[in-house]
């Protein structure tokens, strides 16, 4: 693992920053868990259950690479992203950034460290304070980290930033609501860049955008990575986008990573049944492909993360589910050696090899309509009822 210490801020100007080799692990996530407590109580709240939003994730992101994270809505992608940035308190596990454990960091140290880890959000409007002009939005971070003293001194840098993200300098004096969606997203990216970070976590950066604008932003992200030597964690649910942008891809299902590999490898040889289903479900703008494609239709929906299925989380929807193991033993993410895959292909399935070789055939899945445990339901009811404004 890397041992690079934090360099002093002064010699981190663009261009001559010292980066480690590509390939060195920048972010190391070990067994990360984020469980949101579900509280209920008559006078004092007590915890009656947990939403297992992230439930034991191991993940390494190497310097300079783009790690793509896909998965269905609610599977915990955003939570994972935020937990890595220590924006969400993790329940268990460690996040090591550039050799330093973020988990132990707190207060002012953490705040200073944030300079290296930035985030780009899905909703470009919601993530920009509507009352601040672009200029103050961008200057804020720099001031917080002492990169510039005042707005005056920041000017050249601001202009540079804006031109980097493809916006004219005239944008500085404007407010977020005066921009189009794509432009706002560029502002969001410029803000992340303003403090000269090493890692950018982009949480669905293009989902809210029109296709053409989406493509512009994807290109922009790629350009910036090249220019600044950034490391990305890109979260998305659009597999095509993820494939396009990522070096490596992790597939998440219900709080855990079920498969991880190089992008090309993963798309060419999906091993986990869920990945297969996911891939087969993506519509492709090519009628020929669409007409001939085999689709694996999953039945049912993602189970509630507050009451995840035992064993393999996917077993309730898995067409390859086997009587043994799947129901009660949770598969570990493991390296698999299967012909055609690269050596770094990891998958969390007991029967990955058998499925790949066709030894196990898919079958019908009994749709289970699942119910949450009673306590949880009540807790939810309470909470909703509490939300009714009392005056």
């Amino acid at each position: 693992m890397s041992t690079a210490a934090t360099e002093p801020a002064s010699d981190r100007a663009k261009g001559d920053r010292t980066r480690g080799d590509k390939g060195e692990v920048l972010v190391d996530v070990q067994d990360l868990k984020v469980h949101f407590p579900i509280k209920r109580g008559i006078i004092f709240d007590k915890v009656v259950g947990h939403v297992y939003a992230v439930d034991g994730v191991d993940l390494q992101i190497r310097r300079g690479e783009t790690y793509g994270l896909v998965g269905e809505s609610g599977c915990g992608k955003s939570t994972l992203g935020r937990a890595i940035l220590h924006l969400e308190e993790s329940t268990e596990g460690t996040v090591t950034f550039d050799g330093q454990s973020l988990t132990d960091l707190g207060g002012e140290d953490l705040r200073k460290r944030r300079r290296d880890l930035q985030m780009v959000f899905q909703d470009p409007m919601g993530s920009l304070d509507p009352r601040q002009s672009v200029e103050s939005l961008l200057v804020e971070g720099m001031k917080a980290h002492g990169i510039v003293g005042d707005a005056e001194a920041a000017m050249p840098r601001l202009k540079q930033l804006l031109s980097d993200v493809g916006l004219p300098a005239a944008a500085l004096k404007k407010y977020p609501h005066e921009f189009s969606g794509g432009q706002r997203q560029r502002i969001g990216i410029a803000r992340a860049l303003s403090v000269d970070p090493e890692l950018i976590v982009a949480d669905e950066p293009v989902s809210a955008l029109d296709v053409s604008v989406q493509a512009q932003v994807i290109n922009l992200l790629a350009d910036l990575q090249e220019e600044y030597g950034l490391t990305y964690l890109v979260i998305a649910h659009d597999l095509a986008v993820v494939r396009h942008i990522s070096d490596r891809v992790g597939v998440m299902y219900l709080g855990g990573i079920v498969e991880e590999s190089d992008a090309a490898d993963l798309y060419a040889n999906p091993l986990h049944p869920y990945t297969r289903a996911l891939l087969s479900a993506v519509p492709v703008p090519d009628p020929d492909v669409e007409d001939t494609r085999e689709q694996i239709l999953l039945s049912g929906d993602l189970p509630s993360p507050a009451n995840p299925p035992s064993g393999c989380r996917f077993h309730t929807r898995c067409p390859w589910r086997q009587e043994s193991r799947c129901d009660d033993e949770r598969p570990q993410l493991r390296l698999v050696e299967i012909d055609g895959t690269t050596g770094s292909h990891k998958v969390a399935c007991h029967y990955a090899e058998q499925i790949a070789s066709g030894e196990i055939q898919p079958h019908d899945v009994e749709t289970q309509t699942e119910d949450k445990p009673k306590e949880l339901r009540e807790a939810e009811g309470d909470e909703v009822a509490d939300d009714i404004p009392f005056t």
Partner: protein, 335 residues
Amino acid sequence: MLRFIVRRLLQLVLVIFALSVLLFAWLKSLPGGTVSAMLGERATPESREALTKELGLDQPIPVQYWSFLKRAVQGDFGVSNGVQPGTPALDLLLERFPATIELSISALLVAVLLALPLGYLAARRRGGILDNVAIVGSLVGVAVPVFFLAFLLKYWFAIELGWMPVSGRQEVGNATRVTGFFVLDGLLTREWDASLDALKHLVLPAIALASIPFAMIFRITRASVLDVLDEDFVRTARSKGLTSRVIRGRHIMRNALLPVITAIGLQTGLLLGGAILTETVFNFPGIGNALSEGFTKRDYPVLQVIILAAAGVYVLVNLVVDILYAVVDPRVRTR
């Protein structure tokens, strides 16, 4: 839901308890008070002292509170010494509260019956004449001090036209009292005259009291209907070719009423406050009237019991409203 209710009830008890402490401490810190009020000009320092001692008012306030609390849990809130001397404060409350409830409900009925249809129509014809007139009208309703409105109403309808009585709850008569709700009593005992008479006495105060709730409910209805009109499910309903009656009732109003229900709960606070003025002006023997009288006469037992009861009722009504809300809105119901 049951847990929710229990929880809120416990909160209610806490609120009432905290309030009773504050109230007690505050009343005790007031200058003058019971002794002055009882003895009047005739008071001499000796008589004052004797009475103070007799009533235990010379003891430290925490001691006094403790004895108050001990008695209160047994349902003894002391005896009125100004508003209706000699009557236990609780009895006074129980006797006066029905009047206020009767008045508040009438006012609320007036407000709701006017506000809902108007609110709906105004929203449907947003920007139309009706909309603008109703909006400005409702704002005027808020801007006119209640007691002034009451005076105008009395002047025109009671004195000039003579249609309604000036004040009071019922002309003197031998109406039988059953529940304390005079209109209801008349119906129960088949004393139609008494019932009608009580109703007539309610009209003007109810209108005066309704002015603010009407305005609020009207505006909330209007806003909420506007919101709902914009909702996708209304479009869905129309895309199903449903008749306008069904769309209006099942799809628009049922949803638009949700915020209105909450608003109505909050109105009870305004109603109770407004009742102080309205009841005073109309000499309507409810708790509002008793309150303002209780203040000038420094009738602390009555003040205490009424304020606590008003707060309790307010919290309770809102609890009921929340429950009602849950009944109407399945999203809030426990699954």
